[in-house]
């Protein structure tokens, strides 16, 4: 893998900083979508799909931006929502409780758990 230049490292860190600033809002969106889904009665499929898309994007983007714990927790929630969608799982009390637990864990996973780090294998151009 080619070494990153100082300029490239700075660009990456700048993107990561901006991403970290947006993370709380992204998590809030997931929490809100989950709250919307967890109303009385059966799952509403469009709401389940909306939650899936939000959490799927959070899993992927936080992973690629190096927020691995956030990506891991979002991935666990994504797996549950995927299963609910693909297997048409009914909104049982245990499933609701598990979904609430995963959302709570995600909301407690702050961006500070993944401090910005200098990218690996860097070199200075200057």
């Amino acid at each position: 893998m080619a070494e990153l230049t100082k300029e490239q490292v700075e660009t990456i860190e700048s993107l990561r900083r901006a991403f970290r600033e947006r993370l709380p809002h992204r998590v809030e969106e997931v929490v809100a979508a989950a709250g919307d889904l967890l109303g009385p009665g059966e799952w509403e499929r469009p709401k389940l799909e909306a939650l899936f898309h939000l959490v799927h994007r959070l899993t992927g983007s936080s992973g690629i931006y190096g927020f691995t714990r956030m990506s891991h927790e979002a991935g666990a929630l994504e797996a549950l929502v995927t299963r609910a969608l693909e297997e048409n799982l009914p909104a049982t009390a245990p499933l609701r409780a598990e979904l609430r637990r995963l959302v709570l864990t995600l909301s407690q996973t702050g961006a500070e758990d993944a401090p910005l780090q200098k990218a690996e294998g860097t070199k200075s151009e200057g």
């Binding site: 993107l15 991403f19 992927g60 190096g66």
Partner: protein, 333 residues
């Protein structure tokens, strides 16, 4: 206009696209991006890229749908790599089944992705050269494994629809090994040293070093069909990364082991078999060769036994005769 050797990255998340494109450009690749499968098809119509890296789950058109469409449009020559947080065996197989060439996990450091992209581009260049040379004579291709892997070679043969050919690899570890693909695109012979059949096929596919050649010549022995080349390749590719990772780890631990707790009682036929082989032969190569399980299954059990402290690295490492050994179970991993 898309330039030569352009990599098209497809992902519905613009943040991912931005970061990934940056990292890939930093690795010296020329990168174009598309935020949906539909945008990717537009790009493809205007100027086909040389390789595509794509997310799996996207709204509207999934990565699987896009890959299938691209193949149905006749773009078999464009390598397609899935890049996703998903990565379980069924998901990898699903990707390969719709026509993808590889599957890489979505992680912060895209080194694996970069290496696989470069390998696929190299394979594509060789494929184009080979297409031009195919009619030139019986020797279609020869060289050293390194920049090109044995998987690349077999994929080239599959992509070109070549039949009546021998794929040969010779290396210190593997000895003389060869695969014959008949005119019906079936693998009717695979041998690697004394190994025969599916185990030999997988061992050849996992080769990363040695000299290779592809020759047009008939098969004159008794055929033992392993199934279509496409099927053998699909099964092999789905397991090869994990096999290599485990094998690399085991070799870093010495590659030769002692049974630390020999009197555990029975742990099941499969585990008992591996324990017995380790206790008797110590050497990883011999254990893999003599096991009736597939290479991946055997390697997984050796690793589990090591992690459980049942086997330990052999001090002073003993070289066991017969590393290029005997039986050849007829199952792919």
């Amino acid at each position: 206009m898309v330039a030569a050797d352009t990599l098209l990255v497809v992902d519905d998340d613009r943040e991912v696209l931005e970061m990934l494109a940056l990292r890939l450009r930093a690795a010296g690749l020329h990168v174009d991006t598309a935020a949906s499968g539909f945008r990717a098809l537009e790009r493809l119509r205007i100027a086909p890229p040389q390789i595509i890296v794509c997310d799996v789950r996207m709204p509207g058109m999934s990565g699987y749908d896009l890959c299938r469409l691209i193949r149905n449009l006749g773009h078999d020559d464009i390598p397609f790599i899935f890049y996703s947080v998903m990565g379980s065996r069924p998901e990898r197989l699903a990707g390969l089944r719709v026509g993808a060439d590889d599957y890489v996990a979505k992680v912060p450091d895209p080194e694996e992705l970069v290496l696989k992209v470069k390998a696929q581009l190299q394979r594509r260049r060789r494929l184009l050269t080979l297409q031009q040379d195919t009619m030139a004579g019986p020797r279609l291709m020869r060289g050293s494994l390194g920049e090109i892997t044995a998987v690349d070679l077999v994929q080239v043969v599959d992509l070109l629809g070549l039949g009546g050919i021998w794929i040969r690899v010779e290396s210190a570890r593997l000895g003389r090994s060869q695969i014959h693909v008949n005119d019906d695109r079936e693998v009717v012979h695979a041998s690697a040293g004394a190994l025969q059949g599916a185990k030999a096929f997988f061992r050849i596919l996992a080769s990363t070093e040695g000299e290779f050649s592809i020759d047009r010549a008939p098969f004159e022995g008794v055929p033992q069909s392993l199934g279509s080349l496409a099927k053998c390749l699909l099964e092999g590719v789905a397991h090869i990364d994990e096999y290599r990772q485990i094998q690399t780890l085991l070799r870093s631990l010495g590659g030769s082991y002692d049974l630390h707790t020999p009197d555990l009682g029975s742990c099941g036929i499969r585990i008992d078999q591996i324990r017995h082989l380790v206790e008797t032969y110590h050497d990883l190569d011999v254990v893999l060769n003599l096991s009736t399980l597939t290479d991946l299954e055997s390697a997984r059990i050796v690793l589990e036994l090591f992690q459980a402290g049942v086997i330990t690295p052999r001090t002073g490492g003993v070289s066991t005769p017969g590393a290029k050994a005997t039986r050849a179970p007829e199952t792919l991993p």
